[in-house]
């Protein structure tokens, strides 16, 4: 790859989270490959435009990209929007980070815990704020609401997750789902409060997550609620596991399908070494970006598991979407 020019497709606008990861990677990967990496922002359709462009590029190692795996899987799963499937339509080179999602209320909200949420939901539907129907945060919110057995109304149309977090802070919506990292600064200032972790283990060692219940696992809230509501607890645990698995597919680096083995090994190895490089990890820490790196085979295994398992809650998603359209 030495002396070559690699086009690096970023599926969202400059300045956003995916762009930041790309800019952090750029100098370190450039040094390892000896190639010039040129990030190209190609926003559109929630990352689908860039993903489609990547999928259709020549598999010559000169076009790579960063992929929003949960978003693409959701789009492919629901079939609402034609989208490439990250499990089958790309050569996956590795994972940068898993997404760790949670449900949040506002800092001044009277709903301060999951018990408050469940008690309030017995009286009235809870109002969730979301940016786009079909987004990862929407899927997290809709499936979590289903697993908790709470009545939920969804208000979509906020321009992005930051604007949605303002809606939660203003109190006009009760709850929203976000990746913990994307709102950690607002958790630190007590503007947002995590009340349910969408995981089987704690998302991080952050002090404000201590004592916040987990959705998944045999002792998780999904199972406990299933028992209370006389549903099948094993099914509930599997559904929660599917949701968590989908979210954890994370942010991947990919290449077009059909990449030659030699090229694949070169790119995969160099990417992994870059991600594991202490200098890169220090840069990511400085930008307050967490990492949870994984090699290509691990990322692919996650994708296959998520693809298979996530199909089980397509009916839930479709039901919510049709209610929103009516």
């Amino acid at each position: 790859m030495a002396g070559k020019r690699i086009r690096w497709l970023v599926p969202f606008a400059a300045g956003g989270g995916y762009d930041i990861y790309s800019r952090l990677l750029e100098p370190h990967l450039q040094k390892r490959l000896g190639a010039e990496i040129v990030p190209e922002n190609m926003p559109g359709a929630g990352g689908i435009v860039a993903a489609t462009t990547l999928m259709r590029s020549r598999p010559d190692g000169l076009t790579l990209g960063i992929l929003n795996a949960p978003g693409l899987l959701v789009a492919a799963m629901t079939g609402e929007t034609p989208a490439p499937n990250p499990a089958t339509d790309f050569t996956v080179l590795g994972r940068i980070v898993r997404n760790h999602a949670a449900l949040f209320t506002g800092g001044r909200s009277p709903l301060r815990s999951c018990d408050d949420i469940l008690a309030e939901a017995a009286i009235r539907p809870l109002v969730f704020g979301i940016s786009e129907v079909g987004s990862t945060n929407f899927i997290n919110a809709a499936v979590a609401a289903f697993l908790l057995g709470i009545r939920a109304e969804f208000i979509a149309g906020y321009p992005g997750s930051r604007e949605t977090s303002l809606a939660v802070m203003r109190g006009e919506v009760d709850l929203a789902a976000f990746t913990f990292e994307s709102v950690q600064d607002r958790v630190d200032t007590r503007d947002l409060r995590p009340i349910l972790q969408i995981g089987t283990t704690s998302l991080s060692a952050h002090p404000f997550l201590q004592g916040v219940p987990l959705l998944g696992g045999p002792e998780g809230l999904a199972v406990r609620r299933a028992i209370e509501l006389r549903r099948d607890p094993r099914r509930a645990e599997e559904d929660a596991g599917a949701l968590i698995g989908l979210t954890r597919t994370g942010i991947l680096v990919g290449a077009p399908p059909g990449l030659e083995n030699v090229l694949f090994r070169c790119l995969e190895e160099n990417l992994h070494e870059t991600l594991a490089d202490p200098a890169f990890q220090a840069a990511a820490a400085g930008a307050r970006r967490s990492l949870d790196i994984g090699r290509a085979d691990e990322a692919e295994a996650d994708l296959r598991a998520a693809e298979g398992a996530a199909a089980r809650f397509v009916p839930v998603i479709r039901d919510v979407m049709s209610r929103m359209r009516s």
């Binding site: 930041i20 990030p39 359709a45 435009v49 129907v133 079909g134 149309g157 600064d185 607002r186 307050r288």
Partner: protein
């Protein structure tokens, strides 16, 4: 103002003016001016390119340079609007309405002089408000929600009726209606349904503002110049024949100081609204300039200097104001501040309480750099006005291919998609025919920009009201904006009635 804010302000100013720090805002301003002057490029393009180059810099020079980028681009976008009828940025489109007719009449210097003074003073106003708001920034932003955004969009749309002259009001409203309709193209975020995308993923996010803008203004203007066979923009005049005076233009700001203040207030308040504040600010300021003019209303749209003063004050005042949501909550107020946000994050400066308390001196570095850059661009613009106005006497056979090429390049550069070029070309042809048939183009672009803001916030507001989450009548800011909208609608009729009564 608390002592710590004053101390941080002083410390920030010392950092900006010290050697060699001062080099960063100076060079940043010059680069931003160059980029903003070229149709198709912008300060945002420069910022996107600079992210990679500045990755290993320390936070201080980053803030110095990016503050200069934000401040340096605004004024030069207005210069192209005045000289070529091609706004360098969407907010500059309002300046074009009267600025370009002034250039055609040989008064480009006066227009640019007015723009320079109005920009510099307007940005100073916006920055002073930003500083004053630091202690209450977070509360100020949380006071705005969907009902307020909705009323702002309505106010902006109503302005379309005001800015179109009587002769073309029907066409203006129709153009606005078309812009509103095409703003619906794309993915409906509420229902995930695709509307009018013709099966193309390119249209999932709707028509991009940048290619439409470049087509309907830049390319359409070049087609028109070519079709009319006009020898030069100023109509064949030689440099010696050009009238106008920079000082007359600058002095007009003080002669119309009330208008300047009102426009700066509009720019500041509206500029704080994330996403579309800048565009709306200029047009709403222009609309209120027309409405509140005591005499000579018929001159607006034909080269009235007040039509340059008002939008220029507003859209430079918004520069400082757009930093408020960015610094308080990390919610970008514009494309430029979205990039700034990314840059801040890359360098470990997370917007919010921490930045506004423990790193306030760095916040002031950004503010002072922005302030310095705004004044530099105005002064440099005035200093080079002679050379700039020469462009209005260059033969169009030379200008047309150059500007057209840059516009096409700019359409591609924005998102790296060839479809954007096709859209720019399509709207270039549409814009030419609109101009030929006397259809105003500004309402179409304004409605295209405001349509999503209006639609999304209308639905959110109605949903929230139906769910009992908000009581619209208990929101004073929304109520105030509604009154302003009604006043904007009613004032022309009241004024017409009063003037009929006054006639003997």
């Amino acid at each position: 103002m608390s002592e710590s804010i004053l101390q941080s302000a002083w410390h920030g100013l010392v950092l900006v003016l010290s050697w060699p720090n001062i080099l960063y805002p100076v060079i940043g301003t010059l680069l931003a001016m160059a980029f903003a002057f070229v149709p198709g490029l912008s300060g945002v393009t420069l910022m996107a390119l600079a992210i990679s180059f500045t990755l290993n810099w320390e936070p201080l020079p980053i803030l110095l340079v990016f503050g200069a980028f934000i401040g340096g681009a605004t004024f030069m976008g207005s210069v192209t609007a005045i000289l070529f009828n091609i706004p360098g940025t969407t907010p500059s489109a309002a300046t074009m309405i009267d600025g370009y007719p002034m250039a055609r009449q040989g008064h480009a210097k006066t227009a640019i002089g007015c723009s320079a003074m109005s920009s510099a003073l307007g940005s100073t106003f916006g920055i002073l408000v930003l500083i004053a708001l630091i202690p209450v920034m977070r509360r100020a932003i949380l006071a705005f929600g969907p009902p307020e955004f909705l009323m702002l969009a309505v106010w902006g749309l109503v302005t379309i009726a005001v800015i179109t002259t009587r002769a073309s009001m029907v066409k203006g409203l129709a153009a606005g209606g078309i812009g509103f309709l095409i703003s619906f193209i794309g993915f409906d975020p509420r229902t995930a349904e695709l509307r009018y995308t013709l099966g193309s993923p390119y249209l999932h996010d709707g028509l991009g503002t940048v290619p439409v803008f470049l087509g309907i203004f830049a390319l359409a203007e070049m087609i028109h110049l070519s079709a009319t066979g006009r020898r030069t923009i100023s109509g064949g005049r030689r440099m010696e024949e050009l009238k106008g005076s920079i000082w007359k233009g600058a002095a007009s700001v003080f002669r119309n100081f009330g208008l300047f203040l009102r426009s700066s207030i509009i720019g500041t308040v509206v500029g704080m609204i994330p996403a579309v504040g800048g565009t709306v600010a200029g047009f709403v300021a222009y609309g209120q300039a027309v409405l509140t003019a005591r005499e000579g209303k018929e001159r607006f749209g034909r080269g009235d200097i007040r039509g340059v003063l008002a939008p220029e004050a507003a859209h430079d005042a918004k520069d400082g104001a757009s930093l408020v949501p960015t610094l308080a909550f990390g919610v970008p107020g514009s494309e430029g501040t979205a990039l700034l946000l990314g840059v801040l994050t890359l360098h470990g400066l997370i917007p919010g309480k921490e930045l506004l308390t423990t790193r306030l001196d760095l916040v002031f570095v950004l503010i002072w750099s922005l302030f310095l850059s705004n004044w530099m661009t105005s002064l440099l613009g005035v200093a080079t006005v002679g050379q700039l106005t020469r462009l209005t006497v260059i033969r169009t056979e030379l200008l047309i291919p150059f500007i057209s090429g840059l516009a096409v390049l700019g359409a591609y550069v924005s998102n790296a998609r060839i479809e954007d070029v096709a859209i720019a070309l399509l709207f270039g042809v549409c814009g030419y025919y609109m101009k030929k048939q006397g259809w105003p183009r500004v309402p179409l672009v304004l409605a295209l920009v405001l349509g999503p803001l209006f639609e999304n916030n209308l639905h959110i507001t109605l949903r929230l009201r139906r769910l009992g989450r908000i009581r619209i009548w208990s929101r004073p800011i929304a109520a105030f904006l509604m009154l302003l909208t009604l006043a904007t609608l009613a004032l022309p009729f009241i004024q017409a009635r009063l003037s009929r009564r006054a006639r003997p």
